[in-house]
Symmetry: C2
Subunit: 592 residues, 2 copies
């Protein structure tokens, strides 16, 4: 079937929409693919919906190929379903909650672990039914604090979520690897440039987990890659290589100094260099200083008497050349939550001398100390002496102070050694497009799923959870593929295969374009046909560039000589081809 521009429900916009910041958002609006209905909530107009459906079909095909079975849970779910897992509360403000006419509590499903677990529990009882992998492609709802960038981070969005259930860990590993391979095929088919990153588990709890991040300047996630190996990881997942411990014996005693006007690391290092202070004989670097960041950590849940846990002062020690990376700190402390200490906290605790806090005062006052892994026994530091304008030089870990534990909290710097020992790290930004996750028995235990194994013994199956942000993928493709003229869709997902444009007022050319469109359509090519009689060729070309079909076929001046022009929107190439054999040539170009 041919779709005619004069009939298509479409209005393209010349100007960027107000408030849109990233190119994919601007272009999807300008090209009439989507429209905003509310913050983070979008309508899919005909062109956008065509792309969405094609992406869904690609995802569906690969999920079916690994034996996953599609079903569809409701989006409107009863509170009870999310009580066992504790997530009715855990999701906090991110969950859309509502009441029905009878006052019963409901939620809009943000993710469906609970439902999948329950349905497996209710349908299956024997090891013979396993393994089983189920999935759905469905609207999900999350009340994001800051929805952004159009459909890149929406509050109503389409997600493919699948869940594997296996009787043992080896089975889970296999289901996990099947998903990993399927995800690679999906993203490769879509032509997305991406990295597979080791990930922390976040709020999900569990063990092995990887994220698929599309490379994108505008991405919200920072990740690292090794210069010499395939290693890639979320910054939250990077494990700092631990240096060898150093001998304590023979190290000079710690010495305190007056250090006027040296409240920053920079001024402190300057002071040390002016004073010709040395550590192990070396000139002092920022990395030789030790920052002591005071935070408050709150454990989740409550004590035996039902009282919520109180925030607990905690000192985080990091080398002075690094900031504390709050995302890494939060991931390390999860499920506890953390915030920086306030002015009031400093006022209420006199031993905290702002700008001069050191580990000794913390230890003396019972404040827990969590140190960067580089703070090994025998390492020697310049740090605060717990008094205004005073620092201590040569404070040795394991002799002068002992951390209560170690923590990944320091920022990753470009050039840091890779955790796998091969090469150094580079930093990139990306957008999460997929997440695979060996969830384990968290939900199957919470829902008391008991399956009889070969020996008739009750066994709790183990679970994997796997997600793809389907609607987000459309933004990601737009983000990676666009140019300054507009969208450029890969053949696999373009709303139409070919965009035929009449660029000639001659009636014969118009008829030829119509015939060509008909023939292409009959040959199974999806054609968008710009036959608008009163629109100038220039406007039509601009629209074709903005809309971004992979091939634009122009029946214009050259038609008098039996030629039509084909513009490849992806490569930018322009080719003249014979009108007579155009259908065949265009089909070959599509396949190429």
């Amino acid at each position: 079937m041919i779709t005619r521009m004069s009939h298509l429900f479409l209005r393209t916009l010349r100007d960027d929409p107000a408030g849109a910041e990233v190119p994919s958002h601007k272009l999807l609006i300008r090209a009439g693919y989507i429209r905003r209905a509310a913050p983070g909530i979008y309508s899919w107009l005909p062109l956008g919906l065509r792309v969405l459906r094609r992406v869904e079909d690609i995802v569906r095909r690969e999920m079916n190929a690994i034996g996953a079975q599609e079903l569809a849970f409701p989006a409107l779910l009863p509170r009870e379903a999310y009580e066992n897992s504790g997530r009715w509360n855990e999701f906090g403000d991110g969950l859309f909650r509502l009441k029905d006419r009878k006052g019963a509590d409901y939620l809009l499903g943000p993710t469906h672990e609970e439902m999948f677990t329950s349905v497996v529990k209710s349908e299956f009882t024997s090891y013979k039914d396993f393994p089983v992998t189920l999935y759905q492609i469905q609207n999900k709802y999350r009340d994001e604090e800051r929805p952004r960038a159009g459909i890149l981070r929406g509050r109503e969005f389409v997600m493919k979520d699948s869940y594997s259930f296996n009787m043992d860990d080896a089975g889970l590993e296999e289901s996990y690897q099947n998903h990993r391979a399927a995800y690679q095929r999906i993203f490769d088919t879509l032509g997305i440039e991406y990295a597979i990153c080791f990930a922390t588990s976040g709020a999900m709890g569990g063990s092995a987990s990887e994220e698929f991040l599309a490379i994108a300047e505008n991405g919200e996630d920072t990740f690292v890659r090794s210069t010499s190996s395939g290693y890639a990881a979320n910054v939250e997942a990077v494990v700092t290589p631990v240096p060898d411990a150093r001998p304590i014996e023979g190290q000079p005693e710690a010495t305190e100094y007056d250090t006027p006007d040296s409240e920053t690391i920079e001024t402190l290092v300057n002071w040390a260099r002016q004073e010709d202070i040395r550590l192990d004989g070396r000139v002092v670097e920022a990395a030789d200083t030790l920052k002591c960041i005071i935070t408050k950590v709150t454990q989740p849940g409550c004590d035996d008497e039902g009282n919520a846990y109180q925030p607990e002062l905690t000192g985080i020690l990091v080398p002075g050349n690094r900031e504390v990376d709050m995302k890494r700190l939060e991931a390390s402390l999860d499920p506890a939550t953390v915030e920086l200490a306030s002015e009031e906290d400093f006022e209420n605790n006199e031993f905290l001398v702002k700008g001069y806090v050191g580990p000794r005062a913390l230890a003396a006052n019972g404040v827990r100390i969590l140190a960067d892994p580089r703070v090994v026994d025998g390492s020697s530091w310049i740090t605060g002496a717990d008094a205004k304008n005073r620092h201590v030089v040569g404070l040795v870990a394991g002799r002068d102070f002992t951390p209560d534990g170690f923590i990944e909290a320091a920022e990753i710097l470009e050039g840091d050694p890779a955790p796998d020992g091969q090469g150094s790290l580079t930093l990139s930004r990306g957008i999460e497009i997929g997440h695979i996750f060996q969830l384990g028995r968290k939900y199957t235990e919470a829902y008391d799923v008991q399956i009889l194994d070969e020996n008739g013994k009750r066994t709790v199956p183990t679970m994997g959870s796997y997600g793809i942000g389907v609607s987000r993928l459309i933004a990601v493709i737009a983000e990676q593929m666009h140019d300054d003229k507009g969208l450029r869709w890969p053949t696999a997902v373009a709303p139409f295969d070919v965009h035929v444009v009449i660029a000639n007022k001659d009636a014969a050319a118009a008829e030829a374009a119509e015939n060509l469109s008909e023939k292409l359509s009959t040959a199974g090519v999806e054609v968008l046909f710009d036959e608008r009689p009163k629109v100038s060729p220039g406007v039509k070309f601009k629209d074709a560039e903005l809309l971004g079909m992979p091939l634009v076929v122009i029946v214009g001046r050259g038609f008098a000589d039996g030629k039509v022009e084909v513009r490849n929107r992806l490569t930018g190439e322009t080719t003249e081809i014979d009108y007579e054999t155009a259908v065949q040539t265009i089909q070959e170009m599509r396949g190429a």
Copy 2:
């Protein structure tokens, strides 16, 4: 691709689920097509989802064929979008409302007139863009007071809703007729038995409207058909043929009688016959008596001073052989609401003598009287005399009392004359599966949609609204097609085309069944293959009957002689066919 029963996520149930009343509900649960998640909210398991998708595709194909363009609005919608139309309030308790984390009001879309009107307003400005028809197939939400019968009346359900926008009434009529024809093709393809009924507009406001009702004993809607013409209508839409007025002059004066123990129509008629009372010389029938039903009618909205309108006493007059049909009464009074008068109302109004109310007391006390259309001028009645144990005989309309208006409120009786003058009416029950509706300018005016016509003049386009209850159709098909053994799916929507069953322990037969399944699958037939090794043939046959694929192919005892058995689940026929040519034979049987 072959789907194997040992792999399929399915558990069939031997027993009917608790609380299920209608066959479609019982069978869809027992056969593992759907599962209940909450009242009126269901999960689609793999078999059910396959049927749903096939039905959606049939609907989509026919909508595309009439030039409708698919898009997708969010289900989560901002309150503002439903303010202009007044429906944020009008929907009452039927609307799921919620707040986001910032306290802003949202709703779950019950129907999307507002969104479609807004998007046309924002994208289109010129008559050249019209006509345009848009549609979506999407989850809708209505907080039904009494969700029932599984997916027959759910609170989350899939609906196709489309909307046409035309510059003039002739265009609307054309769009309407296009939809009507498309709906017929859809329901014919699905093999549904249905009637197209004239419908009232209900709460939607507007003019021409027809409902497609699937014939079903368990249907909630009663409708009528003519014995001699194609006339069919919702009971709410039946217009009573008005008898000719009769001459008043010459009729005897009204006479009051003591009528002890005659509070019901039956006892009253008995009394009249015993007393040999005649009307126009005829023996008295129940139809000669006049019932006076006291109601309270409340107009919507409020007066100029912002006070909500108070309920107003209203007398409804109907011939004594008919009950007041509250659905017809409500539809006639809409948008006003109506309830029966309470004991208190009778106590507060002494002129209302229970069991003996007549039109004279109502008129004397300023109570509005709305009469059945049969109460023509000159018609003579036996009715209450407004005093205990007293009735009046020969009360003549237009002489002794005059209704303030006429109303369709009396029940329709089997055998009533058809409104089109051809034949009489029969009553049937049905399930609404589609509704087409010439909505007019209600929404385009509310949203101030102004389009420039050929002369550059601002014109408000006119709108049609058209709905199909897509998920409900699955229940309707199950309801119409099932037998006592289970489901029976028409070829167009069956989850699988062919169900192959191994019913023989012989390894060669099992291999032959496997080969046959492979070959069918390669030939494009969707195969469900029951290869479960430890399940008896009897159980497999029972499952096949319950699941309801149109063709069941059994590789069993006959295989030793090169034969396999084909059971046609729709016709009940069993055929032996040659194994060697089975693929071709089965394909022919499918087409047949």
